[in-house]
């Protein structure tokens, strides 16, 4: 499952950060998740709550997800448009020579910690 893989890496990344910054506990974890990253947000927070208890620093943490809108670039008319609304075909020139430039990412923006 895709979500579980990300959860495992997120926990490991935060553990390392905690060690480096000498943090005792991490509270809010703000994640920026691309609209078309394929991450199911409900599944993701459930997986997190299930998994976090295994890590002492993370056991009281809480995931806060922010969405990054997906944007597609059209190579034919060099314009950009909203991916979710129009899909693969450029709404300006109807070309299919398009690709995603933003909206696929998953970034840890900031954490609250002590």
């Amino acid at each position: 499952m895709h979500e579980m893989g990300i959860v495992i890496h997120l926990a490991k990344t935060l553990d390392q950060t905690a060690e480096e910054e000498k943090l005792k506990a991490i509270g809010k974890v703000v994640l920026q998740v691309g609209e078309v990253s394929g991450i199911m947000t409900d599944l993701f927070t459930d997986a997190w709550d299930y998994f976090k208890v295994r890590h002492p620093v993370l056991k009281d943490s809480e995931l806060v997800l922010e969405t990054i809108p997906a944007v597609t670039y059209c190579d034919s008319c060099k314009s950009t448009y909203e991916t979710v609304k129009y899909g693969k075909e450029c709404p300006h020139c109807h070309s299919g020579e398009t690709w995603l430039i933003q909206g696929n990412e998953c970034v840890i923006k900031e954490i609250e910690a002590e």
């Binding site: 893989g5 990344t13 020579e97 970034v107």
Partner: protein, 218 residues
């Protein structure tokens, strides 16, 4: 409580593991090559051809499969060392899993191939620690894949366009595909070939030798 700005990718712990594995492989003088593609694109058949043609090199294969071990059995029947890695339902290999698999191979070798899980999305998001990333796209899959799955094309050092013996039956346009791929990745090497007939295998194998030499001397 204080706020700490991070701006880190969620998988950044994986990036560190991957760099550590690259250091280990470099000190051993073996080149790890990550093979990525959809299921059934011809990874095992390509590897079988490479193993047969390059008998002077010591080659090992890490087979990542969610369940079975048929690919590992096939590779071992050719006389190469193979390790089966069960990914436990995971849709990709990460650097930690790859490091464990590499440890399971105790003999020295020149090239170690990782046959990643068949999937065009997730494997591209995780650095495995490989020194080279190679993607396979078979002509049966269509030349529009660079548009649909750009990330894997961006991350790969080479693209093998496989099953070219079947070109007559599919409307796969190699020039169009090449053009689309080059827009995403200007440095990528592209090798159209058929592992079945052997056509086009030589340039790919020569490139592997070149990269192995670079890896060992750098």
């Amino acid at each position: 409580m204080k706020i700490i700005k991070l701006g880190l990718g969620v998988t950044s712990s994986n990036d560190r593991d991957a760099d550590a594995l690259r250091d280990i492989m470099r000190s051993k003088g073996s080149l790890l090559i990550n093979l990525m593609s959809s299921p059934g694109s011809g990874k095992t058949t390509l590897l079988s051809g490479v193993i047969n043609d390059m008998r002077d090199l010591r080659i090992a294969v890490l087979e990542a499969d969610i369940e079975s071990d048929v690919d590992a059995v096939k590779i071992e029947s050719l006389g190469a060392k193979a390790v089966q890695v069960h990914t436990g339902g995971m849709c990709h290999m990460d650097a930690g899993m790859t490091t464990e698999a590499v440890r399971a191979i105790d003999e020295e070798c020149d090239i170690m191939f990782l046959e990643n899980v068949g999937n065009l999305i997730c494997p591209a998001e995780y650095d495995t620690g490989a020194g080279l990333n190679v993607m396979i796209l078979s002509v049966t899959e269509g030349d529009d894949k660079p548009l649909k799955y750009p990330l894997m094309f961006e991350k790969s050092d080479a693209l093998v366009i496989s099953k070219t013996d079947a070109l007559d039956y599919f409307d796969f346009d190699i020039d169009k595909c090449t053009e689309r791929v080059r827009k995403l990745n200007g440095n990528i090497r592209i090798f159209p070939l058929s592992a079945k007939t052997g056509n086009g295998m030589k340039p790919f194998e020569n490139w592997l030798r070149e990269k192995l030499d670079e890896w060992k001397t750098k």
